[in-house]
């Protein structure tokens, strides 16, 4: 059921207009005004999204066609938007959490000289992100896909005077491009494979109707290529390396882009193309495995980080791994549900850490914090709530969404015990590193150096109000999707219109799910306890652990960056350098110049006969005349 809904286009266009106004006229306005303009734009966009959400009929789709974008028969892509249940949820996350983070930024970035630029980028991001979820075809989705990458690049390097920031930005963009390489090839392969079946389209609804025509092996290849794109955007193994570095950006950016929205684009894309992915069991297996491995792997790294934001960054990678695990076992609805809840608690965590950093005047090393609970009470309480949620404390959002994933990983036809085991261990690690962080930052003795300590203060209301709202959201958002043995899920039916009915889990006895829940709670509690023992009290154990080899490995992130540097970056640049400095000037241009200099050398020896003596020329002239006469005579 398609319905024209002309308001859709305003969801992306209003933030775009906000960004354009700020870019074009921002220099002449007061910086504060730029912030209000940006917030206003996102607020309007949020209102329209709410309207869409409210008005969207069950299993209905809103459409809004603008114009034909590219037409090169048989290829045709329209600039048109569509909103179904999945999109509506994503829109709420993007504009809703986006609005909170915009407001938060008013406080956080209040005294930054680049505020106009900051808000322009942020609005631009909302534009691209909503474009991504509203797109009704793959190519337009790709516009949003790369567009958010651009904003991420710009915002990571927002404080451009520091090289580490801009290098991190470049890394993010380039690693994403590598993923997009796969994505783009996937689009091309899908287009021509569909075309071979007589269906020339990239439109989602048309693709869904024709998906069954594809040959199984090409579906597998197509979906694998798409997933390659997702590993870049959503920071999965092997392309996750950019996300921890991306924390160089302003903290609200980390919250919005690198936790709540952009990095989940890969999950969204997988869900959007669920009809293709579910046709490719091999791909699903790959996704599930990579998701579970990433979740576990990133969590182990997170336990040994000392930078407050890096812990959260690896935590994000880990949680994204959960989402892909869910998608990989075919539980797309669970994946989106976790995306939704994760957006709340991870945004809350990041904004909380931002509040801490703000209070400390830019300090990010947790070893130089401690005991901040007294100085930042609101931040502390919201942080505590979010940490509980992410660790899966009962009846919070994280509890419901994570348990759904664990249950599906175990019980779904695509699931397995191994996957569940990895996810289960990750749950324990999550609780451990989150509370390790909480204890290091907020409890214990205050290790803040003196001048900064005197200025410690709670953040302004513009920052605390979003924190509180997000903390509340983290608790209650999960109640939309409780297991069947409680009041059941309103979430799954809502998304069923898009994602289709989930295959019933064979062993549907609630006992199994309850048992797994208990196990998960147990390991999370264990993690909490361990964190408390090691970091919650004044003890020397932590220092001894920090000296172990394994800890050093973890702290250096298994040296993955160094390995990539040695295996890919260095050989490649060495090769490029050889081409640029030796091969091109020496061989190719050398050949060209060699031809020239050979001719030149020949000419140099021949030019000697031009003696300059006019009588020599005359003699030559005479000789020529003689020869001509001789020829005439001899004829």
């Amino acid at each position: 059921m398609m319905e024209q809904f002309g308001l859709l286009r305003f969801i992306p266009l209003i933030p775009l207009a906000g960004a354009a106004l700020n870019i074009l006229f921002g220099a002449r306005l007061r910086p504060q005004f730029a912030g209000f303009l940006a917030c206003g734009a996102v607020a309007l966009s949020f209102l329209v999204s709410l309207a869409v959400f409210w008005l969207l009929p069950a299993s209905g789709v809103f459409r809004d066609v603008l114009f034909i974008w590219i037409d090169s028969e048989p290829f045709k892509a329209q600039l048109s938007f569509q909103a179904d249940a999945l999109t509506a949820v994503m829109l709420l996350v993007i504009t809703g959490i986006g609005l909170l983070i915009h407001v938060y930024s008013l406080g956080y970035m209040g005294d930054d000289e680049g505020m106009t630029r900051y808000f322009a980028y942020l609005n631009l991001f909302v534009f691209f992100m909503s474009l991504l979820v509203l797109a009704d075809n793959l190519l337009l989705l790709f516009v949003g896909w790369e567009g958010v990458g651009l904003c991420s690049y710009l915002l990571i390097g927002f404080w451009y005077e520091d090289h580490t920031n801009t290098i991190a930005g470049n890394k993010a963009f380039i690693v994403n491009r590598i993923g997009d390489f796969g994505f783009l090839l996937g689009v091309l392969l899908l287009f021509w494979e569909m075309g071979r079946q007589g269906v020339w389209t990239l439109n989602f609804s048309e693709l869904e109707r024709a998906a069954h025509l594809l040959r199984p092996e090409s579906v597998t290849l197509i979906t694998l290529l798409f997933f390659a794109g997702a590993t870049g955007k959503s920071a999965q193994i092997p392309l996750y390396v950019w996300l921890p570095d991306a924390m160089q950006g302003p903290t609200p950016v980390s919250a919005l882009i690198h936790a709540a929205t952009m990095v989940t684009a890969g999950v969204y894309m997988t869900a959007r193309l669920h009809f293709l992915f579910s046709l490719a069991p091999a791909t699903l297996a790959v996704i599930a495995t990579i998701g579970a491995l990433t979740a576990f792997f990133a969590a182990t790294i997170a336990v040994a980080q000392n930078d407050i934001k890096r812990v959260l960054a690896y935590s994000t990678v880990s949680q994204l791994g959960y989402m892909f695990l869910a998608a990989g076992v075919g539980a797309f609805s669970a994946a989106i549900f976790h995306l939704f809840t994760h957006a709340f608690f991870k945004a809350c965590l990041f904004l909380g850490s931002g509040s801490v950093i703000h209070a400390l005047g830019g300090e990010q090393d947790m070893r130089k914090m401690g005991g901040l609970r007294r100085y930042l009470p609101t931040t502390y309480w919201t942080y505590l709530v979010a940490a509980l949620v992410i660790s899966g404390a009962p009846l919070t959002a994280g509890f419901f969404s994570k348990d759904q994933i664990l249950w599906q990983a175990y019980a779904s036809p695509n699931g397995s015990t191994q996957l569940w085991l990895l996810a289960w261990l990750t749950a324990g690690l999550t609780a451990f590193y989150m509370f390790r962080q909480l204890f290091m930052v907020f409890h214990g003795a205050c290790r803040v150096a003196e001048p900064a300590k005197a200025r410690l203060h709670e953040s302004p209301a513009a920052m605390t109000v979003p924190l509180v709202l997000l903390a509340l959201g983290s608790i209650f958002a999960g109640w939309l999707g409780t297991p069947d043995f409680m009041w059941g899920s309103v979430w799954d039916p809502w998304l069923q219109s898009v994602l289709g009915v989930q295959e019933a889990v064979d062993d549907a006895a609630p006992g199994g799910e309850l048992f797994l829940m208990a196990l998960t709670l147990g390991i999370a509690a264990l993690g909490f306890l361990l964190a408390f023992l090691l970091y919650g009290r004044e003890s020397r154990v932590a220092e001894r652990i920090a000296a172990t080899t394994i800890y050093r490995w973890l702290a250096h992130k298994y040296y993955v960056d160094e390995i990539y540097d040695c295996v890919f970056v260095r050989p490649f640049t060495a090769c490029a350098r050889w081409l640029a400095q030796i091969f091109d000037p020496g061989f190719i241009d050398g050949f060209v110049n060699g031809v020239a200099s050979t001719i030149r050398a020949g000419s140099l020896s021949w030019r000697r006969i031009q003696s300059g003596d006019v009588q020599h020329y005359l003699f030559a002239f005479l000789a020529g005349t003689l020869l001509i006469f001789a020829y005439l005579l001899g004829r």
Binding site: R607, Q610, S611, G612, D613, V614, Q615, L618, F619, L622
Partner: protein
């Protein structure tokens, strides 16, 4: 009356002598003189043909050749003077700027 060929051979001899002078002598003035010699040889040919063909055109041409020769001599001598002023020499081997 001498046959035409006699005149032609005579003019060829004078012409060849002029050519030899132009090629051999290393003195601009002698070269110029030799050129006059060659011109005269040609003039003789023209006049001989004019007589044997009974046509005035040959003589008219000779008239023009004389005009041109006068102009050539004047300009040539002026150039020689100019060169001599700069170089203090009349040897063509000294004027080799136009080589290579």
């Amino acid at each position: 009356m001498a046959p035409l060929n006699y005149y032609l051979v005579l003019s060829a001899i004078i012409f060849a002598i002029g050519v030899a002078g132009v090629v051999i002598r290393r003195n601009f003035i002698v070269i110029l003189l030799s050129i006059e010699l060659m011109l005269n040889a040609v003039n003789l040919t023209f006049i001989a043909f004019a007589r044997y063909l009974g046509s005035m055109e040959g003589q008219v041409i000779v008239f023009f050749v004389m005009t041109v020769a006068a102009a050539e001599a004047v300009v040539g001598l002026a150039i020689i003077i100019s060169i001599f002023r700069h170089r203090r020499s009349l040897d063509p081997r000294e004027m080799q700027l136009l080589k290579w």
